[in-house]
């Protein structure tokens, strides 16, 4: 198979000194590097950053939808900064993000690794059933029913099966974040991505490890996870960014309640947008942007890409 994929004769020509090759390639690939990058750079600039910069400029104005716009400087920023609900929204968001990454990030990786263990036929089916595309509406209705404090499935488990006192679930300010994250432990994970990554680990690695007498966990620990590492790093980047911006799931499930215990920053931003306070909402979004950017950069510094990948 390898012979088919590699260009014929793609073997190293030993006669050429390595240093010369390096220099020659750098000059040539510099042009190609830009050819690879430029289309994406242009699109990202014009449809990604440009609207964002416009939004940022608008946040320095009163951003009236019609008629003349007047410059207000940092008024929106000071107003949002002074809003007591903003602080609590940031607190909720950070707890939610931390909790959801701790509880849900590893599971899809493990599931993907385990699914790859099944016999090919079985795996094909299990994979379909596990990652079936799910309608958001249906799952919302279902989970709302499951969590219902009067006749929900979980209340039945808590009271009739476990004999516990009545539980609050989503209606308890202390537990609401946990129960919001709970469905994500087994569902909605990006396991497919890890399965794609696992495809490219050569069988021979495992065979070699087996000869050395490595057990199940050792193989996962020394082969699967290290080979997946770059993908895990990227998915964790996304998980951090995504979980700090979460809003639709808590919005649908709890509307931010009870008592604001599940109101995230982006949810509050929508509250501001719905009050026609576009510039305040943008100011809040910029604060969030700064926070996410800081966390992402810190994380990238802490987890450098595998140097020998």
């Amino acid at each position: 198979m390898a012979e088919q994929t590699l260009a014929p004769g793609a073997s190293v020509e030993e006669s050429q000194p390595a240093a010369v090759v390096e220099v020659k390639l750098t000059r040539r690939s510099r042009i190609e590097k830009w050819a690879f990058l430029i289309p994406a750079l242009l699109f990202q600039l014009s449809w990604g950053w440009y609207p964002l910069i416009v939004a940022f400029l608008l946040s320095m104005t009163d951003a009236r939808p019609r008629g003349p716009i007047s410059w207000t400087g940092f008024q929106s920023y000071t107003r949002v900064w002074a809003d007591p609900l903003v602080g609590s929204a940031f607190r909720v968001t950070l707890i939610y993000a931390a909790l959801s990454i701790v509880l849900t990030f590893l599971i899809p990786i493990i599931v993907a690794i385990l699914l790859m263990e099944m016999k090919p036929r079985v795996m094909r089916w299990m994979m379909v059933l596990w990652f079936l595309p799910l309608s958001g509406v249906a799952s919302t209705i279902m989970w709302r029913y499951v969590y219902n404090t009067d006749f929900g499935f979980f209340q039945w488990i808590a009271m009739d099966v476990l004999g516990l006192p009545r539980q609050g679930f989503l209606t308890s300010a202390d537990q609401v974040l946990f129960w919001l994250i709970f469905p994500g432990i087994l569902m909605f994970g990006p396991g497919l991505i890890y399965m794609a990554g696992l495809q490219s680990i050569p069988q021979s690695y495992y065979e070699a490890a087996e000869i050395e007498g490595a057990g199940l966990w050792r193989k996962i620990w020394t082969i699967s996870l290290p080979r997946l590492r770059p993908i895990i790093v990227m998915m964790l980047t996304f998980a951090i960014i995504g979980s700090l911006q979460v809003f639709d799931w808590p919005k649908l499930m709890t509307e931010g309640g009870p008592g604001g215990a599940s109101r995230t920053v982006v949810m509050y931003m929508f509250d501001l947008l719905n009050s026609l306070r576009y510039s305040d909402a943008t100011a809040l979004a910029i604060f969030l942007f700064i926070l996410i950017m800081a966390i992402t950069i810190t994380y990238r510094i802490l987890f450098k890409e595998d140097p020998d990948a």
Binding site: E13, M116, L198, M293
Partner: protein, 336 residues
């Protein structure tokens, strides 16, 4: 396949572990199937039975009325202005149009960032590409919308070229499929996905090809691409379902129902229905008339669930198709 040893599977310890793994996987599958069961059963219930609390697990009088109704409605009525096939084609145009532009452009950029750039340049390019993910999309909604009207001017009316009566030339994508496709051409999420995957490819493989004098594009096409079929399959599937399911943005930028995607037709209905009664009396009065129109056509939760199922079917098909590619992983790496 690879973690459990080929020989000695009958060891008691291994067998227990194996059974446990299978049990966990089956339990997860069971949980995943509940919403689907729930959807299908709901589509077979009558309107009053849907309101029952707690819900009935098995429909008391299974009926295909909702399914029949949806197909009648889709043949021609006020609710769907175009034949379903029209919406379907529009959705296909948008989804495949986005994929055709986005996958190459995004993967090229990720490849360059992963394999061709080094050091500080690579880090800043990376942040440039994913930085926009860090801002909630709702904030850039208005500027982006204005850009579909008159690119590159984020204002409703185009200014004149100074000193003349002539307007600046602008690109107008509003009310065309381009307005959906172009903002999605660069996908920051897919960028992360591709970058993660390309990072796993050992530099030595690429270096070997370079030494042979292959151009970077040829290396990408002949070496990297074949190894990357699984990740392309995943990226294509995720982006396809994203575009197929998105309805707010198409609804904003496409006014003409003949160009609207399926999701707009379906979610319009669902949205009207879902939003009713979750708001104040003022709102319920206003949406009342809307719901009356739907109800007069006989549409209720069961009909909406049918629509939801129909909406999911293309995504499901795409999932099955991409699964086959996903599992074609080329075990190329052992060569070295």
């Amino acid at each position: 396949m690879s973690l459990f040893p080929k020989v000695g599977r009958n060891q008691p310890g291994l067998r227990v572990t194996w059974t446990l793994v299978v049990a966990v996987l089956c339990f997860g599958i069971f949980l995943h199937l509940i919403p689907f069961y729930f959807m299908i059963v709901t589509s077979l219930k009558s309107a009053p039975e849907i309101m029952r609390i707690p819900p009935t697990l098995i429909p008391e009088n299974p009926t295909f009325a909702a399914w029949q109704l949806v197909f009648q409605v889709s043949v021609g009525s006020t609710i769907l202005r175009q034949p379903l096939s029209q919406y379907f084609l529009n959705s296909c145009l948008m989804a495949f149009g986005t994929l055709a532009l986005s996958l190459p452009i995004t993967s090229f950029a990720a490849y360059a960032n992963s394999k061709l750039q080094r050091g500080r340049g690579a880090r800043w390019t990376f942040l440039f590409f994913i930085g926009t993910l860090m801002v909630p999309a709702a904030v850039t909604l208005i500027p982006t919308f204005l850009l579909t009207r008159n690119f590159p001017f984020p204002v409703p009316t185009v200014p004149n070229i100074p000193g003349t009566e002539i307007e600046f030339p602008v690109i107008r994508t509003w009310n065309t499929a381009w307005a959906v496709i172009i903002p999605g051409v660069f996908s920051a999420f897919n960028f992360l996905l591709f970058k993660g995957f390309f990072d796993t490819i050992p530099n030595s493989i690429i270096q070997a090809a370079r030494v042979d004098g292959g151009s970077e594009f040829n290396i990408f096409r002949r070496i990297v691409l074949p190894m990357s079929i699984p990740v392309f399959a995943v990226a294509a599937y995720l982006q396809f379902s994203g575009v197929w399911d998105s309805f707010m943005w198409p609804l904003l930028v496409i006014q003409d129902s003949a160009r609207s995607p399926m999701s707009v037709a379906i979610y319009n209905l669902i949205n009207v229905f879902m939003s009713s009664g979750t708001m104040r009396p003022q709102a319920s009065l206003a949406t009342n008339e809307q719901i009356r129109q739907l109800q007069e056509a006989g549409l209720s939760w069961n009909g909406l669930v049918v629509l939801g199922i129909l909406q999911t079917i293309p995504i499901f098909i795409m999932f099955i198709v991409s699964r086959n590619y996903l599992l074609k992983g080329v075990k190329i790496r052992g060569l070295k």
